[in-house]
Symmetry: C2
Subunit: 197 residues, 2 copies
Amino acid sequence: MDKALFKQADLKQTELRAPRMGTTYAGPPAGGAEPSFDLIELMFFAYRDFVADADHLLENFGLGRAHHRVLHFVNRRPGLSIAELLEILKITKQSLNRVLKELLDKDYVEARHGARDRRQRQLFLTARGRVLALAVANLQSKRFAEVFAELGDGARAGATDFLLAMINANERDKVAALIGPRAVTGFPHVLDERTRR
Amino acid sequence: MDKALFKQADLKQTELRAPRMGTTYAGPPAGGAEPSFDLIELMFFAYRDFVADADHLLENFGLGRAHHRVLHFVNRRPGLSIAELLEILKITKQSLNRVLKELLDKDYVEARHGARDRRQRQLFLTARGRVLALAVANLQSKRFAEVFAELGDGARAGATDFLLAMINANERDKVAALIGPRAVTGFPHVLDERTRR
DNA sequence: GCCTATAAGTCAGTATTATTGACATATTTC
DNA sequence: GAAATATGTCAATAATACTGACTTATAGGC
């Protein structure tokens, strides 16, 4: 009985923890209220299963979590520079290097000299890369589609609001800006001035 | 300037990816709909900041993400066995060992011989461990409190429904069962039959 | 044009969290 | 008593990250 309880799959361990942000620990309880154990645990499991979709798919291509992140953000912000990518991913260039090199080698990502500044390398997905990124995004979107088929489409706005509110206030605007305008099309950077002469 | 550019925080990399589940990739698009890039990205950022809270706090105690998971689940299911913990965490006992040993050494966790089966070791938090686990939970709960202060308390049920629906269907009942009844008190295992003679 | 700053790439060494495989020990169950 | 089970442990490895130091190419100020 206890066996069957958690048998489903071989999961990699990475959740329930993450990067440190500028969060300040203000001391024990907020104001006497009980901790929201339910939501804490739900966040853990929901995220676990959510990312598992992408993880599972990309594994077939010999790509790991680091590759996924790069693929995702290059897809979302085509034309971004190495520095910008490092800013988003919050990793060092040494860490990025291995992963990016593999993505370049395997022809998922393409780097072009910066149009304005030749020192920069602007990153784009190749056709292959775009197919893969879209496949991942579609798989993840399928989960959302099922969720809102169950909860009703009205729940989508609520979920969006909830997730946005969960983001650190100082980053919320940036994320909202990145998300809102490009939610559907997703190709703003290609059009911005940096890629023009 | 490149220095300053990346200085914000020293973040560990683990998000936007996770364990593999039994998710089946059914082919490109679901039915022609655009991928939900907005929600995909929101999940990433929301979870990133959410777990950063715990991460940041535990770092002061020399504890990492693996320790957090153990602390969390032992707190939530006191009296669980090594095997049960491994099942939940989906890691090997070799991986658990180092982490658990540290938590035992540092007196956050306590292991007692199984009451029914002396081969088993049942895990409990010590007073210290409970204080720490509660501090983490309170910090994470603070974020939820702020979110629902902003969105209104009505949003809490919606968020719960959303997160629950995001969990793989085959696990949903188990998680719901674990979460619902013990959301507040959190000490069910101690009372279950396994710890009795 | 030169000098400095910047963007990126690279080499070397290390940490954390995970893995697989093999085997030892204590205890339960048949 | 023998086999199964729960746990612990040794050893080697992988993926993802880190710091520090250095090179190369290009941009920009003077």
